[in-house]
């Protein structure tokens, strides 16, 4: 039997090492949430558009991306991200692995968020749009000033719930070599041969963050969100 190595986890150097990993995990989550919200909003509006050439590609995007494993997208961007972006940034461009991870995560999450946003917009009474248009607002303005502010408020709990999934999913970015929590953990345990302690410690960090967030979203009452939003939000929570 090997002596346990719990004393390592109060060593400031080790804690700083994990702190750096945690910082990467949080940065990955924030970047992925921001990017996927912007892209998701576009595709939600695309799916709701009356124009077929917008609606069909948006529907195809959302439905096919949602049906793929997020790890596949992350691995793909890890391998091909650089050469995909070379036409834009020039020869010799190397996509940092952090951003490859963000793109993989955001691509997947944007499809999920598009569904939540669409459900939120659809859950508003039609009278809202009709009243805004009757008052002389253009389609874009009625969206911007009437529909989206109300719909986004309804979606907050659903998005909070999704945030825990994104934070958990950032662990997958360890597989393409970004030094987030899980990666740091693997580096550490290959030094000290202590995977039990390392993975319990990392699991506890994730637990504190995700449990805290899910409690907060419960306080925001996901249960009282319109049923349509709730259904969509709960649908992809496990993935």
């Amino acid at each position: 039997m090997r002596p346990d190595t719990w004393h390592l986890f109060v060593d400031p150097a080790i804690l700083r090492f994990f702190g750096e990993g945690l910082l990467q995990t949080l940065l990955l989550s924030v970047a992925a949430v921001g990017l996927s919200f912007a892209v998701g909003l576009l595709f939600a509006l695309g799916r709701l558009s009356t124009r077929r050439w917008l609606r069909w590609p948006s529907t195809a995007y959302v439905e096919s991306i949602r049906a793929l494993p997020v790890l596949l997208l992350i691995v793909y961007f890890g391998i091909k991200g650089s050469s995909l972006l070379r036409p834009v940034f020039g020869e010799g461009f190397e996509l940092p692995r952090f951003w490859a991870g963000v793109f993989g995560l955001a691509l997947y999450t944007s499809a999920i968020l598009a569904e939540i946003i669409r459900a939120g917009i659809l859950s508003l009474p039609r009278g809202q749009t009709e009243a805004a248009r009757a008052l002389g607002l253009s389609h874009a303005r009625s969206l911007r000033y009437v529909i989206l502010p109300q719909a986004l408020r309804l979606m907050v709990p659903a998005m909070m719930a999704q945030l825990t999934t994104i934070i958990k999913d950032t662990s997958l970015v360890a597989t393409i070599g970004v030094a987030e929590l899980v990666r740091q953990g693997r580096i550490l345990y290959t030094q000290f041969f202590n995977p039990i302690e390392v993975f319990l410690f990392i699991g506890a960090i994730y637990f504190v963050i995700c449990f805290g967030l899910s409690q907060a979203s419960r306080r925001l009452e996901l249960g009282r969100a319109p049923k349509a939003i709730r259904d969509v939000a709960l649908r992809d929570l496990a993935a």
């Binding site: 096919s64 596949l72 662990s171 997958l172 039990i196 994730y206 899910s214 496990a238 993935a239």
Partner: protein
């Protein structure tokens, strides 16, 4: 030439064999998570508080930590505790199977719990007053009635499970994603390799999704 990979690469058997591993992993871990998740749900609605507490702790722990960390724990840490999940050949597969079942059981438990709580209390009281024991009422009155309401959400959990089987590749199970990575590393044809993998995942998940939607509509009409 796109598609030329089919002619040039002799080891395309990796795709069907990877698909088969993914399917096996998905079906077996789904069965495991249904059984375990139903048990946890019964714990969560049990009359005894310690049982409810155990069920609640299980759900919160497994839902609020990443599946990857759970898999790494099962794969890398169990031998250090003296637990051997299989022989050298079957170890990774068993660890992935167990990890997927444990993780999704937490989501199954939430679905089944919702179904159990949705049943009118009067039904249980009637069953008990007719002389059925608590477990008999659960078995013959409550559980059968949850069936209709839990099928569509359980379908969603199983779609997520199929997608999550891809994490098995990270601990060296030769599943579909793993096949794609191997083909890519030998041919440097990321597009073809990953498009093939993506299409094979879609073949598994899209029919499931259509089936869930169909069931959802059907069960709603029937209500």
């Amino acid at each position: 030439m796109p598609g030329g990979i089919v002619l040039e690469f002799p080891e395309l058997y990796l795709f069907p064999s990877g698909l088969w591993i993914t399917v096996q992993l998905a079906i077996l871990s789904l069965l495991g998570s249904l059984v375990l998740g139903t048990l946890v749900a019964i714990f969560r609605v049990a009359p005894a508080r310690p049982l409810r507490w155990i069920g609640g702790a299980y759900v919160e722990i497994f839902r609020n930590t990443p599946l990857l960390v759970q898999l790494f724990f099962l794969y890398f840490a169990t031998p250090y505790i003296g637990i051997y999940l299989g022989t050298r050949e079957t170890f990774a597969f068993n660890a992935a199977l167990l990890g997927l079942a444990l993780y999704h059981a937490a989501y199954v438990a939430e679905v089944v719990r919702g179904g159990l709580l949705g049943i009118d209390k009067g039904q249980i009281e009637a069953a008990r007053s007719l002389g059925l024991s608590y477990l008999q009422a659960l078995r013959y009155i409550q559980l059968p009635q949850t069936f209709r309401s839990v099928i569509p959400p359980l379908g969603n959990v199983s779609i997520a499970l199929v997608k999550n089987t891809s994490l098995a590749a990270t601990i060296g199970v030769a599943d579909l994603l793993y096949a794609g990575e191997i083909v890519e590393s030998r041919t440097f044809r990321a597009e073809e390799a990953f498009v093939a993998v993506a299409l094979l995942y879609l073949v598994l998940t899209v029919p499931l999704g259509i089936g869930v939607n169909w069931l959802e509509r059907r069960l709603q009409v029937a209500r």
